[in-house]
Symmetry: C2
Subunit: 343 residues, 2 copies
């Protein structure tokens, strides 16, 4: 589809544009001398590249900027050539110093990532619903209120304060908690409501006086509020990009970033491995001007989460993609170690 030389020209233009954020002209390329052709030749190739849809003009006599198709080609090229990456131990070096808990590892990774790239990093925690119940605790604060605490095998702690209905006495509550721990420990959190219905109901009915009421309360008390957790790093970082010299754009961007649930659902539907969606390729309206690069990391037994990097379409794809690949590997490794110790 593209000749060798056209590919070369496209690369040079993208590289240049990534740095300057300004349209690139043929003469400028020729002057730089990265490729040994005259401005006119390059001009001709550029015209062809534009015709084929890999470049665009901002106006009729401007230089060219890469189109989304151009970026796509660039990115596919990078991913294809991405094989033996030298693992730089970005995260591992930091982690090995001491003991970090699960959430810290993830949060740290998000910060490191945005620090290294100057884009905004978003990490989607592993689907909480797929973690397994370790233990439930119920701590009464007063005769009328209690804190329910749910701990998963990943060390995630979820808690909720709620009022104890007058119909339930504290010994009943204790019994319930014991029953749950005994029967449901080790079950995936996602299946808890179901298991409640199938396994626990029958048992509880034997032990508890006022079952129906209690049941209702328990069910709401023992489910995690947010099924996933987002770790965001470097929101203000990305605003340094020249793309954000417009106030309105900043507002739009920040408003979007506040919609955590939308971002979460977006990140959830990514495939395994490295994934790049450029501009209009994005399904979500609010980021159609951005590029989103995602990578998955895994825990044991099929649990996984997503690392993502959000930046302008004009992104340092080469660097960023390999970084993300390294980091997702490292996280998988670090978390695997963690998981092994804590399963």
């Amino acid at each position: 589809m593209l000749t060798e030389r056209q590919m070369l020209v496209l690369q040079v233009i993208i590289d240049e544009f990534i740095v300057t954020a300004h349209p690139v002209g043929s003469r400028a390329i020729a002057k730089k001398g990265t490729i040994p052709y005259s401005a006119a030749t390059i001009r001709n190739e550029m015209a062809d590249l534009e015709e084929k849809g890999f470049l665009e003009k901002t106006h009729s006599s401007s230089g060219r900027i890469p189109s989304e198709k151009g970026y796509r080609c660039h990115v596919d090229h990078i991913i294809a050539s991405l094989s033996g990456i030298n693992n730089k131990n970005v995260i591992k070096d930091i982690i090995q110093d001491g003991f970090y808990e699960f959430e810290q590892i993830v949060q740290l990774s998000a910060e490191v990532l945005s620090e290294l790239t100057n884009y905004t990093s978003i990490i989607l925690g592993p689907e909480l619903l797929e973690t397994k119940l370790k233990q439930i605790q119920m701590i009464t604060l007063s005769p009328h209120t209690a804190v329910a605490i749910l701990v998963t095998n990943t060390g995630h702690v979820e808690h909720r304060t709620f009022s104890i209905p007058a119909e339930i006495n504290s010994s009943d509550l204790e019994k319930m908690v014991n029953i749950i721990n005994h029967h449901l420990a080790g079950s995936p959190v996602i299946s808890l409501p179901e298991l409640f219905n199938s396994e626990i109901i029958s048992i509880m009915k034997k032990y508890l006086d006022d079952f129906d009421r209690s049941y209702h309360y328990l069910k709401t008390a023992f489910l995690p509020e947010q099924p996933v957790k987002l770790y965001v790093g470097g929101v203000s970082n990305i605003l340094m990009q020249p793309e954000f010299n417009d106030v309105e754009k900043i507002r739009t961007f920040l408003t979007m970033m506040e919609k955590e649930d939308e971002i979460a659902t977006l990140l959830k539907q990514t495939d395994d491995g490295i994934n790049v969606t450029i501009g209009q390729e994005n399904q979500v309206e609010a980021i159609k001007e951005f590029s989103l690069i995602t990578a998955t990391y895994r825990l044991d037994e099929g649990q996984h989460g997503t690392i993502a990097l959000l930046g302008p379409t004009r992104m340092e794809y080469r660097r960023v993609i390999s970084l993300l690949k390294i980091l997702s590997n490292e996280m998988t490794e670090a978390l695997y170690m963690w998981y092994k110790n804590n399963g």
Copy 2:
């Protein structure tokens, strides 16, 4: 210091400027007809007001804008006239619907506040160190790791995952937790380290084999990481203000908002009651262009937190101050109720 009429003119200018954010001219005021004087008269008064430092010009032939001294006068005036506020039940109406836990009440208040004002609201949670230990739990995830959970009387849950040193066996751990709960439940969290030293050490030495090691781990495991919690609402809200039409200002502001600890220390050193610091009056460099209004809310027994509102110096002080007063009262009330049930 100011004549009746000068006061009037100052008020009108401030009111106008709060709405338009543009310098106010004498002719414009006269035309509006809020005060029955000609442009020339008003002009003279404005000249006097400027001389006395209550007004400023942006350039030699511009209209006037209120100086910080002008705002200060305005604000002092408002606070003086602030007596019988009709309690509007902003929060209470919402809260009474169902049971809300402590953190929800505070978070909700922050959101409501920024929603009502279009400024950024910051609520400083009650000093965690002053809450009292309710119970400690230790849940082992694996032979080498455990989650330590600390619950306070306010229902606050703090947790930390850490690795269990090989020297400590699980029955020792259990013993320690029991000892702590038995002796320290009810003690203020702030005094825990001290009590550890004075009361627990001696007792533990009797029970535990390898005391020294265990002690070190416990001490770090059972102290809340962040002594206070910040609840921020409507960060992107404030960006709609015309003061933020400059990209650089937005960046500065957002960078500042990311420094949570700085904000926390700033809010901690506020007096009781309503407090307004305008522009340069602020000690912290980053908010010398803003006004900060703070109010305190109380829990039982001397525990208290701070509600704050951050906006441009051009702020609707009248509305905002009374709102903050109402809200701090309501929060005190709501939390008092909560506290009573859960003490």
